[in-house]
Amino acid sequence: MRLGWLDWALVLFNAALVLTLVGSGRPRLWRRLRRFVSLLVQAAGVLAVTWFVVTAAAASAARAGQSGILTPADTALISRAPEIVLRSALELSLLTLALAAGTAALAGLGGAIAAVSLRRRRLVLLSPLATLLWVAPTFLIALLVQELQADIFGVTGLRVAAGFGEVNALQIFWVAFILAVRPTAYFFQSARAALDLDTATEYVRTARAKGLSWEEVVRRHVARANAALLVTAWLNAFRTMTGSAPLVEFLFGYPGLGRVLILALGLTYAGGAGPVHPDVAIGLVASLALILILIEAALGYLEQLLDPRLRVLPVGA
């Protein structure tokens, strides 16, 4: 028997219930289990809510009828078996998300450490630039990048853009780049603010008095002390990235989770309503949500490892 999405939600919820019963009355065991239980409940909730909303969307679309036409490429993309559609979209999206998340982490944190430790007058400009990039909508950044690609081609004849819907290294680079711009700016700002705040504290003054250079103080002391805050900031940046993935993928025709999700929900490039594929849509939303939940859980654990103060707080506090 093949389990449906709601069945999976119930399975996860029941598993959480069983673990809660097992852990009740055993505080030491419960301390280890509670994070896992919380994760299971969250995943079950996401599956159930997604199932409910997508089923309602599909029913209401069926009542309204179809008015839009899918392009042959879109039809080929969405009409395969749901498992295959899910797997290929997931692989492609994970690749760009990983690249973008890595870029955001390296560039954002590197920039923040450089800005705080080097304390050069010129680096002051990084902050307003980051604010401007963070405020700029993703679609505007994507549009400007595409215009730049066209201009480069127009002036030099050099093809720096991949074709619409193509999957190659160039396309992956641009999609990842656009996905990374705003999260990098956000992470840089948050990291710089956190590091800046600590530079006036007594332990920093003590380290300086002991003869450590400013760069060493920032790298060895300030960055470590703020590691938990940095992890939270990176998580928020990642959340923004995942949220805007459908937009970027749709604009570049990149067949990842975002673009396939849009097609599965019956949205077409021409604006009319296309056929809704509830199974694919639920799978895609659940996959995106589960990626977020798992990363959030992993980072929550990492935060506790990095910040001893958090270890004594109860879950959810």
């Binding site: 969250q42 969307a57 209401s60 993703t138 995942t242 805007s244 939303v285």
Partner: protein, 330 residues
């Protein structure tokens, strides 16, 4: 330090007001324009006194004698911000489309604030079950990719462009953003509850609305005032993002066959979709089509208007936040 903060607040407010003033002037000019320039379809134009023909979409600052689809001259017009693929003046379209979009933004911000404040109070409530449930709900919502969740809810409530209602948008867009307001509210309420004056007030029997009005509201007001411009900015950007993904308020458009060229690299003859009364989001919906033709003006202009309006709200939000900080310094 206080003087520095005040100077920064003044600069930010001045920046925001300058932006809002400039955009409001543009929108007003667009609204005051004769309706025909943003309603009628112009098949081509000639620059007066020359034999230079221009085909839509007209670029920025185009001054041209334009012609109806049947070849009848329609008069001379200055297309300050260019036109869409049907030759309709973008300034007029944006001027008329901005109003419903801003109304929608206001509606969503109100709904988000109401839901967020209630949820924030529940999150900060002393009852463990309520607290756990509301925090859990917040975590569930945060677990969803915001754009996907907004689209699914809007699709569920109004599946086709012709059926879309502001209510569906308000529900879909409020669902993804209330958590920030709730976190701010919960933070303020928790902070106030821990203060000695608050404990004293509770011990003296102050409860319900009186307690809220006297002790919580004075602290909540500035915190929410700082949060609301950020909410307005994020909702406005969300309107644009949804528009890109073909989820917009204005209703279905009409298909128009147009001659290519237009300064782009498009095919000789092509189709474009023209919405009769587009809002800011719907103006961005043919983006994919315009990009393929390398026609940048009709998509970049509304995108920039949204971005500048959002920037104005963000500047205002930063100013409010700094003012709040300055207040705490006192």
């Amino acid at each position: 330090m206080r003087r520095q903060l005040r100077l920064r607040v003044s600069l930010l407010v001045a920046g925001a007001l300058t932006l809002f003033g400039a955009i409001a002037t543009l929108l007003l000019i667009g609204q005051m324009q004769a309706a025909q320039w943003s309603r009628d379809i112009w098949i081509e134009g000639v620059k007066p006194g020359t034999h230079d023909f221009v085909t839509p979409p007209f670029p920025l600052f185009t001054y041209a004698q334009v012609f109806h689809t049947n070849g009848v001259p329609g008069g001379v017009h200055y297309f300050l911000l260019g036109s869409d693929c049907g030759g309709r003046d973008l300034l007029g379209l944006i001027g008329r489309g901005a109003l419903p979009s801003l109304e929608l933004v206001a509606l969503v911000v109100i709904v988000r604030s109401l839901v967020g404040v209630i949820a924030g109070f529940l999150m900060a409530s002393g009852v463990a079950g309520v607290r756990l449930l509301s925090r859990g709900m917040g975590r569930w919502v945060a677990g969803f990719p915001y754009l996907a969740l907004a689209i699914i809810v809007i699709q569920a409530l109004s599946p086709t462009p012709a059926q879309r209602t502001p209510l569906a948008f308000a529900v879909g867009m409020a669902l993804v953003g209330w958590r920030d307001v709730a976190e701010v509210t919960a933070g303020v309420v928790e902070r106030v509850r821990l203060q000695p004056y608050s404990e004293a007030a509770l011990a003296l029997g102050s409860r319900g609305v009186t307690y809220f009005r006297r002790h919580v509201l004075p602290h909540l007001r500035p915190a929410l005032a700082a949060e609301l411009p950020f909410q307005a900015s994020s909702v406005l950007v969300l309107v644009g993002e949804l528009g890109f993904l073909q989820v917009f308020l204005g209703g279905a458009g009409i298909l128009l066959q147009v001659a290519g060229a237009g300064g782009g690299a498009g095919p000789p003859s092509t189709f474009c979709v023209l919405a009769p009364h587009p809002d800011l989001g719907e103006l961005l919906s043919p983006a994919r089509y315009y990009i393929q033709q390398a026609w940048w003006t009709p998509v970049l202009v509304p995108a920039l208007v949204i971005a500048l309006l959002a920037l104005g709200f963000e500047l205002l939000g930063y100013a409010m936040r700094l003012r709040d900080e300055a207040r705490l310094w006192r």
